[in-house]
């Protein structure tokens, strides 16, 4: 019943713990392990650098893609010379990402709840939701962006057809990602054990209340890592909105490259996207690890 390891209780030698650390796959323990991992990291980096630096076209590539002066000019931009600041444009990616994210979370949840409903009267919407998910998971996002960005203005509807292109881009991201994220939600809802539903209903909680206070909190907790994973991917996919001529980071880099025949602007855009996504990726890793530890701790009770 207690969560302590049985070994320490009987005073025998601990089986798996060396130097106070738990067993870890793929990593040596102690100082020797640190030395080995440092050496191998340095070796790998040196090899990669060597390939780039010693290749026959190394100088040309370095000049075309990684030239500091061009990188800096692309970063700050210069409207008089006909190109935009990549650093300023990434701000649009961030805003598109945030707007899309705020909409995707509730829309996807709604779709998941509709698909999980059982009431016979809801059959038609349930079917619509299924068709929606199948459709938007199947059609490439780029096509959805183009269809909305070129198609909706062509309809000449009041208000709807007169939005900035970025709005159509965000709408396309929401349509497409809601389909994916609704499936993540559905997996989460299914991961909550049926006995939890029975316990909630047996207390007289109406369906809605049981969902809100008992099922959803547990479902969402289970899917935070895959949700974040989808959002990392969403951050990058904001670059696709550039095909509508919207000046986001990728598009700004492209304009710089055509104006100056130097591609260092793309390296700048790539680095900016990395700066956005890597923290979220590390954060996801941390959550997954914490969740794993909590599960292991729970299993001993």
């Amino acid at each position: 019943m207690s969560g302590n390891s049985p070994d320490s209780a009987v005073g025998g030698p601990p089986l798996f713990t060396a130097g106070g650390r738990g067993p870890r796959l793929f990593s040596g323990t102690g100082r020797r392990g640190t030395v080995v991992s440092t050496l191998s990291t340095v070796l790998v980096l040196v090899l990669i650098a060597a390939v780039f630096l010693l290749a026959p076209g190394a100088r040309t590539v370095a000049h075309a893609f990684f030239y500091p002066k061009d990188a800096w000019q692309a970063f700050v931009g210069d409207p008089r010379k006909g190109y935009y600041s990549v650093g300023g444009a990434i701000w649009l990616n961030i805003r598109m990402f945030l707007a899309a994210e705020v909409l995707i979370l509730p829309v996807a949840l709604l779709i998941a709840l509709i698909r999980q409903s059982v009431h016979p009267a809801l059959f038609p919407i349930r079917m619509l939701a299924t068709v929606y998910v199948d459709f938007f998971r199947g059609v490439p996002l780029l096509l959805v962006v183009l269809a909305l960005g070129l198609g909706v203005p062509g309809l000449y509807l009041p208000v709807i057809s007169h939005q900035p292109d970025a709005v159509y881009g965000v709408a396309a991201l929401v349509l497409s990602y809601s389909a994916y994220v609704s499936e993540v939600y559905r997996a989460g809802l299914n991961s909550v054990h049926r006995s939890q539903i029975a316990a909630a209903r047996s207390l007289g909680l109406p369906h809605r209340t049981a969902l809100r206070y008992v099922i959803l909190p547990q479902a969402v907790r289970n899917i935070i890592p895959p949700l974040l994973n989808d959002f990392i991917s969403l951050q990058k996919d904001t670059a696709l909105v550039g095909v509508l001529g919207v000046i986001e980071a990728n598009q700004a880099a492209d304009i710089y490259a055509s104006a100056t025949f130097n591609y260092s602007s793309f390296a700048v855009a790539a680095i900016l996207f990395l700066i956005l996504t890597i923290p979220l990726a590390r954060f996801t890793d941390r959550l997954i690890e914490r969740d794993r530890r909590r599960r292991l701790a729970g299993a001993t009770i």
Partner: protein, 247 residues
């Protein structure tokens, strides 16, 4: 008036007929134990009474009212019937206190402060006051099951259904949960208890019902049923239990 009346209740899962015409009435303040082999339908019977399973035919009444009628709101019925499961089923993402106050505050609209005060009172009565702010995974099985009982009691039910509430517990934790049930019985709570603990059934029950293949074979006071069973099938079941040293 009967607390619970069951008339000719039938229930099947697909081709598997689980309850084949159950008749049973439970008077107020009465404690009835259901015994029977695994798969005889004890859990299914309790789940039907709490309207967690739709029934095929028959009638169930709660304080004289037909709760299997089509226009009945199951949530109103469930407020009055507490059920505790073998596997506790506490809400893992809520503290003990929140587990207990959730239903009173969301279903009965009890003000938060009052719900908390009542919950603390109940938890204190069963020796769980110091666990209020803990999450369920910090509690022993016995403590979790006592919290589950308190959670059901917090709705002030007319009757409690207990489904093998000690089966998932280590032997040394069984007593603390049985004590709680004994205290409820002494307080006059009407209870229908499915159990494999024959000694406990003998001590606490006013009547013991022996189920086999979805029928109540014998229904008698414990002194009679355990010492002088009338039916051959009851006798055989009890002999198996004695052989397994559980009586």
């Amino acid at each position: 008036m009967n607390a619970i009346g069951i008339e000719n209740l039938r229930k099947s899962f697909g081709p598997n007929v689980v309850l084949q015409g159950i008749d049973l009435s439970v008077s107020s303040h009465e404690v009835i134990c259901l015994i029977g082999a695994s798969g005889s339908g004890k859990s299914t019977l309790l789940r039907c009474i709490n309207l967690l399973e739709p029934i095929d035919s028959g009638r169930i009444t709660l304080l004289g009212q037909d709760i299997t009628a089509p226009n009945i709101d199951p949530n109103l019925v469930r407020r009055q019937i507490g059920i505790v499961f073998q596997s506790f089923n506490l809400f893992p993402h809520m503290t003990v206190l929140r587990n207990v106050t959730l239903a009173p505050s969301k279903v009965l609209s009890t003000p938060a402060a009052q719900a908390a005060a009542e919950a603390r009172e109940l938890l204190a009565r069963f020796g769980l006051l110091d666990k209020c702010d803990d999450y369920p995974d910090r509690l022993s099985g016995g403590q979790q099951q006592r919290v589950a009982i308190v959670r059901a009691l917090a709705m002030r039910p007319q009757i409690m259904l207990l489904d093998e509430v000690t089966s998932a517990l280590d032997p040394e934790l069984v007593a603390e949960v049985l004590d709680v049930i004994g205290e409820l019985a002494a307080g006059g709570m009407t209870m229908l208890i499915a159990t494999h603990e024959m000694g406990f059934a003998r001590d606490i029950a006013n009547r013991v019902c022996f189920l086999e293949e979805g029928r109540i074979i014998e229904d008698a006071p414990p002194a009679e049923l355990f010492t002088d069973p009338k039916d051959d099938r009851t006798r055989r079941f009890l002999r198996r239990i004695v052989d397994a040293k559980r009586l």
